[in-house]
Symmetry: C2
Subunit: 344 residues, 2 copies
DNA sequence: GCTGTCGATGATAGCGTTACCACAAATTGA
DNA sequence: TCAATTTGTGGTAACGCTATCATCGACAGC
């Protein structure tokens, strides 16, 4: 013996067995497998029968090798996406599995420099056919360029255009921010506050802009700002700050549900009733919203659909097909128990 | 042109380029790549230099093809695992990536019959080298046998032995259940309740047994039972039931955090103070615990470590190595704000 | 009827590794 | 000193597909 022997596996039928069974050449079987139109209907049927008979499944390995493609889509995420990871994965798989792709996942570090190395390394190592990258990783400056260099088609599941990424999934972040402001204004709130996401996250800035603009447009409204990093702890400290202000805000918009949960927590510990004394709005419509008490008013982002659209576009690029119509996510504020009329 | 052409990719250096650069045969390069001991130290160094020089990475595709292995580990989950998916993925990747494996994920349906087809289909299609299967899917009767038939090494990330699965990760579920009971008893609670997980989930039944036994041992304690399915809604309805009982329980143990969140919600809507009037304990120590108000007392399950151990064992089986020592998860109840002294 | 075109198929050369077999050189044991 | 190992290396056949080229009938147009 020389090296470690690969453990022998079952002898699956090969394309040759199918060809023999159907009385044709492997070439023709291959054509059937690849849905080539140039196959006689009868022949095709005969081959398909043989395939079913033998329970033949083309070896993904051999196929990947021959086609110089892996049929793997990589998903790059990080722990900020933990709550929505499941729905995003589902969204991608919904579109890719029918076309023979599998989903391979990778958690990347948040730190910019490390992230680039890490993601490119992952792509080269795993030889994925394409990547879907979640924010905030997708916003790392230089990442798009690095991936272009490495010739890896990549798609950012971002709500706003990101420098360098070819096709991104857009949603109306700004409008959504405005929608939140309007919701609070309609309830009579005049002292508002916003807990922003990371300043280098475009979508967070868009939301902020929309929120501020709408408040401004209304007039006679104050808006306090605090910054967060999408983590729970940052939501807590931002809320601590905002709720210690002399003129305490009566309506707080947190840039994601997790930080909003932090606001609820601080409010409870200070005996501030939600929504009696304070209204809280989150963002994402994650599965957290209904589990919190009170249930969180939040802007529902259809992650699953967004991911599906990203997958569609990615596959189109991988296979050199025409890009599907750009997808515009519709963001909808879903009022729950955490918002109510302004006090007094 | 015949069929859809695969999009050409960059011309990565091949093993042949390396061999030429180092002045050896590809065979020897291959040996270096596979860490075969039978290579002269100097030759090895020369080859390693050439590899670094050319920035050569062996093609995972070709390698997978030649070795009849995919270097892919499949993770089978379902939406009941959404909250812990991230940490489980991390745990697996921590152990597998260094050994050249990538993680491929698949969400399976919960319904037993469909699940078997689905999982086996996934394994055959993607040709993973092995599977890690999360509960409750792992508990589907017949699944282990079906995978054995398909010759797919599989590992259940279960807390208790599952019929058919070779090596499972064990944790002290029963002891943990007892621990929860003791925690509540120590706080003076005498009217307890438990919201169980699905009856066919072994771990849930273990927890229940431990909880009941400890309550029994103490004496003078009543335990009401309700059943749940690990979903939020089932937690709500179970809590609705339990909190409507004539002699309302003062301490409720829910078999996972999500259902515990449902209890908190019902308590709030009925004006039952937690922990003043009611203590609530969850299970899993998911990221939900600290986000809830009050923060949830829960039994911390080290999912990441458990997943890592499962991955270790799986790889050992795949590569025919000696199995690592069986891993015993330590379950620790972490007291937070949702439990306190019994009322009166 | 003869050529041109098209539709359907076969033969066969890769794809980039691993691994079996062979073999020379170095080392050991008597 | 010579056979018997051991050690390091090269040649090369798989692995199971895809895809290029060639072939070969059939059918239409002149």
């Amino acid at each position: 013996m020389d090296e470690t022997p690969g453990k022998p596996r079952a002898n699956d039928p090969t394309i040759e067995d199918v060809a023999a069974a159907a009385g044709v050449s492997i070439r023709t079987v291959s054509r059937v497998l690849n849905k080539s139109p140039k196959v006689n209907a009868q022949t095709r049927e005969r081959i398909e029968d043989a395939i079913a008979q033998l329970n033949f499944r083309p070896s993904l390995r051999a196929r990947a090798f021959a086609m110089r493609r892996s049929f793997l889509i990589g998903l790059v995420h990080n722990d900020r996406n933990a709550l929505v990871l499941d729905s995003i994965q589902r969204g991608i798989v919904a579109r890719t599995s029918a076309r023979g792709y599998e989903l391979i996942v990778h958690a990347a570090p948040l730190e910019a420099e490390a992230a680039i190395c890490d993601v490119v390394g992952f792509a080269e190592r795993s030889r994925v056919d394409g990547l879907v990258i979640l924010p905030p990783i997708s916003g790392v400056p230089g990442l798009a360029a690095a991936l272009e260099d490495a010739q890896v088609p990549a798609m950012a599941l971002s709500s706003v255009p990101i420098e360098g990424f070819a096709g991104v999934i857009l949603s109306e972040e700004r409008a959504a921010g405005a929608q939140v402001a309007r919701h609070l204004l309609d309830l009579g709130h005049r002292r508002l506050a916003i807990i922003n996401g990371p300043a280098d996250t475009a979508s967070a800035m868009e939301r902020r802009a929309g929120f501020l603009a709408e408040a401004e447009r209304h007039g006679g409204v104050s808006v306090a700002e605090a910054s967060g990093d999408y983590g729970f702890a940052s939501g807590v400290s931002a809320a601590d700050h905002l709720l210690s202000l002399g003129q305490r805000p009566t309506g707080i918009f947190a840039a994601n549900d997790i930080m909003a949960a932090g606001v609820l927590k601080v409010a409870a510990s200070r005996g501030i009733a939600v929504p009696g004394d304070l209204s809280v709005v989150g963002f994402d419509g994650s599965l957290l919203t209904k589990m919190l008490t009170p249930a969180l008013t939040s802007v529902l982002r259809p992650f699953s659909e967004m991911a599906a659209a990203a997958a569609d576009q990615l596959i189109a690029r991988i296979e050199g097909l025409a890009a599907p119509l750009p997808y515009q996510a519709t963001l909808q504020i879903v009022a729950a128990e955490s918002t109510g009329p302004a006090p007094q």
